[in-house]
């Protein structure tokens, strides 16, 4: 084979490998990486299914006191309702590994969803933690907002006061709300990232 041909093959392989890794991990301002997960009713969903819509990702663990703060107060459900009524797709994702806190059977998940009167579009199960690691989800809750072009426009905390105290909710700025409102108004999202607060995501390794 000619040297040129060999070099061409090598060059193309490097590019192919490079692009395979690019976009593997989520970054604000870039295309949110696609994923496919099964929900608590056995239905499969891919992020790409929702292209053309705003999508909110909510990392969840029903037994974490920070998640309890937002659910017992009704704050999360209210936010979910408000957003989904405006055609936003809201996906709760649980990356708790088997045997770890927050990992439940689908029956238990659906029971909790019902008891909590959750208003998300679907509760996706990410037991292997693959999607969590893709989005660098560290805490529950950890929120992400994706615009209709598939771009990640917000990643971070649900609101501005880091605590387990329900009383702090009314005094805090809700970043999911401010992000969506800014995006709908065509304004820039600020802050586009904040440090998330909560319990650590219970990955398997």
């Amino acid at each position: 084979m000619k040297l040129n041909n060999i070099l061409m093959v090598v060059f193309l392989t490097i590019i192919a490998v490079g692009t395979a890794f690019a976009g593997d991990k989520a970054k604000v301002g870039e295309k949110a990486p696609n994923f496919t997960l099964v929900d608590s009713n056995g239905n499969e969903h891919s992020l790409s299914d929702f292209s053309g819509k705003y999508v909110v990702l909510e990392w969840i663990n029903y037994d974490c006191p920070f998640v309890v703060k937002h659910y017992d107060s009704g704050n999360m459900q209210k936010l979910q309702k408000w957003a989904t009524e405006k055609d936003v797709v809201w996906l709760a994702i649980c990356s708790s590994a088997e045997g770890k806190q927050g990992n439940f059977t689908t029956d238990e998940i659906n029971k909790r969803n019902k008891d909590q009167k959750a208003n998300f579009t679907a509760y996706l199960i990410d037991e292997s933690g693959k999607v969590g690691k893709m989005y660098d989800a560290r805490t529950t809750p950890n929120m992400y907002v994706i615009n209709p072009n598939g771009e990640l426009i917000y990643a971070g905390a649900i609101d501005s006061i880091k605590s387990t105290n329900q009383d702090d909710i009314k005094n805090s700025t809700n970043y999911v709300k401010t992000t969506l409102e800014a995006a709908w108004a065509g304004k820039s999202v600020d802050p586009s990232t904040t440090q998330p607060y909560g319990c650590g995501v219970k990955y398997n390794k």
Binding site: D136, T194, G200, K205
Partner: protein, 271 residues
């Protein structure tokens, strides 16, 4: 009737067995004085935490999750100083990491008395924390103490505690000079000291800037030590400077000093 009794007993035991975050940590307050005089300006205070085996509470920078341990003072005839934190441990979890304390930790702080204090000093505070093992539980405890006005009398218990914890406190010094440079998502700290041990790591005071999980790369370059750290891609912006601890289990040998230090405070500008 018997069935009901058994049921009640069982429920009571179950309720009793459910531990809260407040059950897993116990706080004791130890002021530096047993009695103060009208000339006393500052009263150092130690807060001794006893933490349930296997659980931990957090440093001022809790890392990738958790909440810092907090003191909420009730208003009184005094102001308070910042907490002096002992050297924390890095607690890794599934690729991420926290900074915190296990077993026992003593936080040091101080009460600054207002000038015309003539009565006994009454101090009340609520200490709050997040205590975690696998799960996390919020907890808190009210503490209070009263110091009679009279002659200034030291509390030997405080002095003993301060001595015991001397080695656990980071050392503040101006001797170490360092600068930082951020390129894309990498921070390179260049420290003007070629003798830093190979296990040295940097723990920032503020969360949200560096990636906490991985071990930081340490290299020697001429007469300098370089630490390479990944920056958090979700950081709001690049910091103009970072303050924190250089930590080494081997111990940092500052030239001209006799002892080795487990941690020293550094504050460096970033280009």
């Amino acid at each position: 009737m018997l069935k009901k009794l058994i049921f009640l007993l069982l429920s009571a035991t179950l309720l009793y067995a459910a531990e809260t975050g407040s059950d897993l940590v116990e706080v004791e307050v130890i002021p530096a004085y047993a009695e103060i005089s009208d000339k006393t300006k500052i009263v150092p205070v130690a807060l001794k935490f006893k933490i349930e085996d296997g659980w931990h509470i957090y440093w001022r920078n809790p890392g990738d999750s958790g909440l810092p341990t907090e003191i909420n003072w009730e208003e009184g005839k005094f102001t308070t100083t910042d907490i002096q934190w002992p050297i924390p441990e890095k607690i890794p979890f599934t690729g991420l990491a926290n900074y915190g304390f296990e077993d026992e930790v003593v936080l040091f702080t101080a009460i600054r008395l207002e000038r015309n204090l003539i009565d006994n000093l009454e101090v009340n505070a609520n200490i709050s924390w997040l205590v975690c093992k696998e799960a996390c539980l919020p907890g808190d405890q009210d503490i209070s103490f009263e110091l009679p006005m009279g002659r200034e009398i030291s509390n030997p218990e405080y002095n003993k505690l301060q001595q015991k914890y001397k080695a656990e406190m980071p050392f503040s010094t101006d001797i170490i000079r360092a600068t930082g440079k951020i390129t894309e998502d990498e921070l390179v700290i260049t420290i003007d000291d070629e003798n830093l041990p190979k296990d040295v790591q940097f723990f920032p005071y503020e969360p949200g800037f560096i990636v906490n999980g991985p071990e930081q790369e340490v290299e020697k370059l001429g007469n300098k030590t370089i630490i390479k750290i990944e920056m958090d891609t979700y950081r709001y912006e690049n910091p103009k400077s970072l303050k924190g601890l250089l930590i080494s289990n081997e111990g940092i040998d500052l030239s001209k000093q006799v002892e080795k230090y487990k941690a020293i405070v550094i504050n460096f500008p970033i280009n």
